[in-house]
Structure formats: structure tokens, C-alpha cells
Amino acid sequence: MRVHKRTIALCFYFGLLLLPIYWMLTMSLRTNADILGAFAIYPTHPTLANFVKIFTDESWYSGYLNSMIYVTENTLISLVTALPAAYAFSRFRFLGDKHVFFWLLTNRMAPAAVFLLPYFQLYSTLQMIDTHIAVALAHCLFNVPLAVWILEGFMSGVPREIDETAFIDGYSFPRFFTTIFVPLIRSGVGVTAFFCFMFSWVELLFARTLTVTKAKPIVATMTRTISATGLDWGLMAAAGILCILPGALVIWFVRNHMAKGFALGRV
């Protein structure tokens, strides 16, 4: 009976969670006049015009491709650099370890707007403006610290006896790390990969400042729907719906890693 009540509460929560998403979906299927004209619980004259516009206009769909490129780059850089660092923080005591660990997180604490001008100057000097890697590197500012912190939490949950046994068994560090240790914290790696993807995907200020046309992300293209003549609600909702899909795919792929705990005694 207890489990039953819990499931009902969970379904209720997910119902509420989906309401604004449903609202965005119905908006994407309506014209602006229809949206602003009258309240309707579902679209009475559904139209795909908003989606057609996004898929046929290159300035729209190239935005999605650009975003996907730099977000993927950023997620890979974040994970590859953060995994060994998180291991160091969770297993070793070394000079300045606590300070560096906390310093990493302080990079998430400043209002991003104030960094824009310095960033533009820095990347202009390096001639990296309007490249995907520039945005990917800029997003490392907040994603790498996040990855290190999340992964460190998961790694500290793994008993150190596992490391010791593996080293006694003659495993080298790289082999132990990639074949035994990382699979043990796969739920942590899964959730970290998703968060890096997500934070980089929705970030607007850096991505817009560092790009012109060749690497212009979808979030920047979307601000075009807010123009002098008012908001293009339907088009924006359609772009928003399409914005959800890549990330939903990412979590679909990492879901098995996230849901799988670890079994002790693998070594």
C-alpha cells in the first residue's frame, strides 16, 4: 500500500512537471494570432508552419548544428580532464589540495555578464572569435569545476580497498582507472556528462558574445524571435521544443549508466 501511494505522488509530480512543456508544445502548433486571440486547452487549428520554417531556413537549423558541435566538444573536454583530477582530490593529500578544490568552484560564483568584455578581448587577441572551440573552452569555466565536484563525490563513495587490491594484483594506474574504477562510478559519470551537456546547451551570454555567424548557437538565434514588432511566440515555442530533443537523447543514452549502481567485489 505504501509503495502504491508513493507511485501516485510521483505520477502527480510528473503530471505537474509536464504541464508547462505541454503548453509550449501546443503553442508551437498555433499561429501567433491564435495564441493571443483566445484561451484554448488544445490547438483547434494545429499548424506545422513554425517547424517548417525552422527546418527550411538555414540560419535556424545551422544554429542547432553549431550548438551540438561545441556542446559535444565541451562535454568531452570536461569529462576527460575532470576524471583524473577528481580521482586525485578523492584519494590523495597534496600541496594546496583543499584550496584548489574550492577555488575551482569559485569560478561558478561570479555574475557571467561581467566576464563578457574581458572574454571578448581575450579570444579576439587569440583570433578565436567565431570558432566552436572558443565557446567550448569558455564553457569549461563553469563545467570543469562542476564535473570535478560531482565526480569527486562519487569517487569518495568507493572504498579505497578496491584501489589497494588492484595495485597489489599488479594493475598499472591507467589500466586500473579505465577498466575497473571508472566503470564502478558509471552512475556518476552518466549524471556528470548530462549536466555538462545541459549547462553548455542552455548558456547564452558567452556563446552569443564569442560567435558571429559560423558558430552561432541556437540559443542566440532564438533571441531573434523577440523583435521590434513583438514576440513571435509560436516560432519560439517550436524552437524550444526542438531544443529539448538532443538533450533528451543524451539522457536516454546515459540512463542505463545512471540507474546502475555498483556491485562490490568486482576486483
Binding site: 507511485t7 510521483l10 509530480y13 510528473f14 504541464l19 508547462p20 512543456i21 503548453w23 495564441i35 483566445a38 484561451f39 486547452i41 583524473p84 583530477a85 586525485a88 584519494r91 590523495f92 593529500r93 597534496f94 600541496l95 574550492f102 568552484l105 569559485t106 569560478n107 561558478r108 560564483m109 561570479a110 555574475p111 561581467v114 566576464f115 574581458p118 573552452l137 569549461c140 569555466l141 570543469v144 565536484w149 560531482i150 569527486e152 563525490g153 562519487f154 569518495s156 563513495g157 562510478i185 556518476g188 549524471v191 548530462f194 545541459m198 547564452l204 540559443v219 532564438m222 533571441t223 511566440w233 519560439m236 524550444g240 531544443c243 538533450g247 539522457i251 540512463r255 545512471m258 540507474a259
Partner: protein
């Protein structure tokens, strides 16, 4: 767990250090530089010393915005952390339900922040929005453009809707990382559901909860796009949070000095609170272990 002493661990940290330092140190130095100068144009800069800091610290509207911000972030933590834990505990452990729950939870997180503000703007409109119409049909007058209380409720609702999934996802991953053996041991001991939560699940979730609390505190303290699009800081100044006020200052003046000084003070406040949270959570963990 005693850690190994070994300074060679720095080699493992080095890649992260280089990547982050590249993005952090030069821009931060530039901002510090602006904050002590009077910049009237290219090549026309004068040293202003602590003038901007004094001006900013004596700004009464800044104090109001700060209290508002503290109240907001406090409420965010009080609602989202327990709710996220409860959702994670209620989620299924295997089967198709897991995938359904994880994907659904991820949806609000993946929408760009300015779009979230715009969707909620329509969603809560009393004439054509689903929530607005529903509340007004229920006989309650609700209009977030006119009443400060309604504006606060709307911003809180949006914030909880948007970010609770992040806490839930973190907690769920943390729960799944607990070895099955712990639960079996608890079962043999005949532990109650509460005891399992208090003495196994909660301590084991300390790592993910620490990052969840810090992350939610920092991001809610820096919140800008969603409330700005939804309420524009109003009605009156009732939802003018710190970052909205900062941008007002930065846009309203030609000088970069005061805005840079403001951002540094802002940064120090976030830093201070995060440090306190971190220390408290670390100490709780140490006491638990003894």
C-alpha cells in the same frame, strides 16, 4: 578514509588547472582592474581607488535587493532540496519506469532560460494562459503583473519547476551508487524505512547533496534571465534580484567602474556563503563518521 600523501597527484590535477585558469584568471584580473578605475573612453582612464566600492556599499536599493535575494535563495534551498530527495527516493529502481522518469526529469533543464521565462509569461497569463485561467476559474484573483505577492509566487513556482529535477537527478544517481550489500545488512538487522534513510541513504548521499546545495545556492543567487523575462523586476521593485539590479546599473551608466565594483562585492557574498555551507556540510560528515 585516510588519504595518501603524494604531491605527484598534482599531475592528475594539472589539465583541469590549466583549462580553468586560462578561462578564469585573465578575465578576473581585467574586472578587478576596471573596478578601481574611472573609464571615460578608450585611453581615458583615471585611477579611482575605492570610490566605486564606497558608492556601491552605500546604495540603499542594493541592500533591498540583497535581502530579497537572500530570502529567495533561502526559500529555493528549503523547497527544492527536500522535494528532490523525496522524488529520488520514490523513483523506481529498475524497469521501463526508470528511463521514463529520467527523461521526463531532464526536460525542464534543457530549455534555454530566456525561453523558460517567456513560456511561463504566457502560461500564467490570466486571460490566455493555462495556469492563469485555471487559478482565476477557481475563484482566486491572480495576476503576477499587478500584485507583488503573485509575482513572487509565480517566480518561485517557475524556479522550483525548473531546478528541482537537477536535485532529483543528482540524488537518484547518488542513491544508485549505494552497494546493495548495505541494504541487505539493514534488512537482516530489521531496520525501519526511516533508519535506512537516516543511517545509510542520507550519509551516502552527502557528496551529491553538498554539490546540489552549493549549486542551487550559487545559481539561484545569480538568477537573471527567467525572472527578468517573466516580471522585468516588477511590479515596482518587488522581484528585482541582485543580478537584475546589477545589469540596471551597468546599462544605466557609461562607466564600467561601479558595475565592476558591484560584481566583485557580489562575488565575495556568494563566495562567503558557499564557503560556510561547504564547511558546515564537511563538519557534519566528519561527525557522522566518528
Amino acid at each position: 578514509m585516510e588519504k595518501w600523501d603524494d604531491n605527484r597527484a598534482w599531475f592528475l590535477v594539472l589539465p583541469v588547472f590549466i583549462v580553468v585558469a586560462f578561462s578564469a584568471i585573465v578575465p578576473l584580473m581585467t574586472v578587478v582592474n576596471y573596478s578601481v578605475q574611472d573609464i571615460l573612453g578608450p585611453g581615458q582612464t583615471y585611477f579611482a581607488g575605492t570610490e566605486w566600492f564606497e558608492e556601491v556599499l552605500h546604495d540603499g536599493r542594493l541592500h533591498e535587493a540583497l535581502w530579497r535575494q537572500l530570502l529567495f535563495s533561502g526559500l529555493v534551498l528549503l523547497i527544492e532540496i527536500p522535494l528532490g530527495i523525496m522524488i529520488a527516493l520514490a523513483m523506481p529502481k529498475r524497469g521501463w519506469g526508470v528511463s521514463a522518469c529520467l527523461v521526463t526529469l531532464a526536460l525542464p533543464l534543457l530549455i534555454p532560460w530566456n525561453v523558460i521565462g517567456t513560456i511561463w509569461l504566457i502560461f500564467t497569463r490570466p486571460d490566455i494562459g493555462m495556469l492563469g485561467v485555471a487559478i482565476n476559474k477557481a475563484g482566486i484573483v491572480f495576476d503576477h503583473t499587478a500584485s507583488p505577492t503573485d509575482a513572487w509566487i509565480t517566480v518561485m513556482l517557475m524556479e522550483v519547476w525548473h531546478w528541482t529535477p537537477l536535485v532529483a537527478l543528482l540524488c537518484y544517481a547518488g542513491l544508485r551508487a549505494i552497494p546493495e550489500a548495505y541494504y541487505q545488512a539493514a534488512k537482516i538487522d530489521g531496520a525501519s524505512g526511516w533508519a535506512v534513510f537516516r543511517y545509510i541513504q542520507l550519509p551516502k548521499m552527502r557528496g551529491v547533496l553538498t554539490i546540489a546545495i552549493l549549486l542551487r545556492f550559487m545559481d539561484s543567487f545569480l538568477i537573471y534571465a527567467e525572472p527578468f523575462v517573466l516580471t522585468g523586476g516588477g511590479p515596482g521593485n518587488s522581484t528585482t534580484f541582485l543580478s537584475i539590479y546589477l545589469v540596471k546599473i551597468a546599462m544605466g551608466q557609461f562607466d564600467l567602474g561601479p558595475a565592476a565594483a558591484f560584481s566583485l562585492i557580489y562575488f565575495v557574498i556568494v563566495l562567503l556563503f558557499s564557503f560556510i555551507f561547504y564547511q558546515v556540510l564537511q563538519n557534519v560528515g566528519r561527525r557522522e563518521k566518528q
